[in-house]
Symmetry: C2
Subunit: 299 residues, 2 copies
């Protein structure tokens, strides 16, 4: 069992209606790896600058995350600044500075090439494609993307889409990618382009998995106070793929369970700023939250 | 066991992106009673004009719906005209003509007064209050409302809210009623005003029940083609309350099951225009759809 996660490690400045935090650790790869670390020993591919906190690297290693594929380069770490309004599903990007990510060409170390599962977080689809060319027969490939790549690199995105098993997106992205207003029709169009399953992350409305012979839905945990929604989707992917890696196979039943663990990790991540919640999180708490989800939907 | 439904019986002209139907039978009371009739023998309170199809009255009776509380008055039946866009969750009201509903003062026939469950569909909150004064110790009272009453009769609405056990609403209504943008905080404020449970109907995003010691969620059935969304919420209420009436009691577990049967009836109602789908619907189909919902959320 092995899960390779290719994504960003970042410093984020985050503003919510309640507070502002400057240069906290974030990034799709960071959130995903931390969430996955409760289920398996993920391997990370990414790049940080010399300003990335040494303390965080120690924390990632303590969570038994393999950092062989992480480059530390002279310069500054990828930086993102965003603001959330009253609706945590909506955010405004105020600033993005690629910094050391600018000319990053991800390389799979030899020990990563035969990974069972590869997750391509929301980076440039051309880089996603590069990674797949370096991998040797992964059992499962999953990808995520963002509106920016749908708009600026539709051809590259389409090529990668044809090579993955699982496509993570939110409902707007699914509709934008296909021009369909109905989510089921949009998902079917995406399935026609290659993936076996589309996993639609709907924030406060939960998650929906659609495959050719599978439909599964789960509401989100009703939450009164979202501290920081950043990283919810990546934490979801981490819990999801970590579960599938631990299981060693992919059945419809396991996909549904993976979605539940993904929802668990997302619901936990948003309870504090940045990756803070993961610092005190225990496996017992993860399992407790899983039981809460079981109760939430059992009838 | 007995369920009294107080609501409108209407003629609707409906326009969707795919088609237009003129003066088809609709109304909150009609949808709710038909959906409930698969679980119990509902009693209807309402009014129609002489233009209301005799054939529909025969159909309602054939479904063993008690029409003793239905007045037939000289004049025209309540009329509504609406248009749906590509997003079936959004609709525009083009015309409303109260007609015989204008000076309707609902009366509970003697045989209705000791009903176990009373459902006050989305009519004028003053009329909802009138009904409650005529009822003798109902086991359970549920109400629905619409944006129009929240805006025009907030005081009356608040009085009724203090007397009901279950409040049905959609997420916009919950937020508008309380001034809270977060659905959980909005629901808590509603619970503070009287109801024991708030049932939030979220259309394509499913349903959420929140009580002081209960949180339950269910996604909607993923649907490629919604023929006519009219009556989905009322059919939900009918399936929900029909289930509780059949059970004869209200436990947390039964509330969750009721929400599943409500979702089943809503998902069926939208498969055809107006009440058409109910004309061919069988109990076996209802139970089949229930199993589909079980599968949709089991992990």
């Amino acid at each position: 069992m092995s899960l390779v996660i290719v994504g960003s490690l970042a410093l984020d400045t985050i503003e919510t209606p309640a507070a502002r935090r400057e240069r906290v650790v974030g990034g799709s790869g960071t959130y995903c790896a931390l969430a996955a670390s409760f289920f398996t020993r993920p391997k990370v591919v990414g790049v940080v600058g010399t300003d990335f906190p040494e303390e965080t690297l120690r924390f990632l290693r303590r969570r038994r995350i393999d950092l062989e594929g992480l480059e530390i380069r002279p310069g500054r770490t990828f930086f993102w600044e965003g603001r959330y309004g009253q609706d945590p599903n909506l955010r405004t990007t105020l600033q993005t500075k690629l910094n050391v990510f600018q000319d990053f060409r991800p390389q799979l170390p030899d020990s990563y090439r035969r990974a069972d599962i590869i997750f391509l977080a929301n980076i440039d689809p051309d880089l996603q494609g590069d990674i797949l060319r370096q991998a040797v027969k992964p059992r499962l490939v999953a990808m995520d993307t963002i509106q920016y790549w749908i708009e600026t690199k539709p051809q590259s995105l389409r090529r990668v889409l044809g090579q993955v098993d699982i496509f993570f997106c939110n409902d707007q992205e699914a509709k934008m990618l296909t021009g369909e207003v109905n989510l089921v029709r949009a998902s079917k169009k995406i399935l026609d382009r290659g993936p076996r399953w589309v996993v639609v992350k709907k924030g406060e409305h939960g998650v929906l998995i659609l495959g050719r012979h599978l439909a599964f839905g789960l509401p989100a945990k009703p939450t009164e106070h979202v501290v920081d929604p950043t990283g919810a989707g990546d934490s979801f992917a981490g819990g999801f793929l970590g579960t599938l890696d631990r299981a060693g196979r992919t059945t419809p039943r396991l996909l549904c369970q993976a979605a539940a663990y993904g929802s668990v990790m997302a619901s936990l991540a948003i309870e504090d700023f940045g990756i803070e919640r993961f610092k005190t999180l225990t496996t017992a708490q993860v399992n407790g939250r899983f039981r809460l989800f079981q109760k939430l939907v059992s009838f």
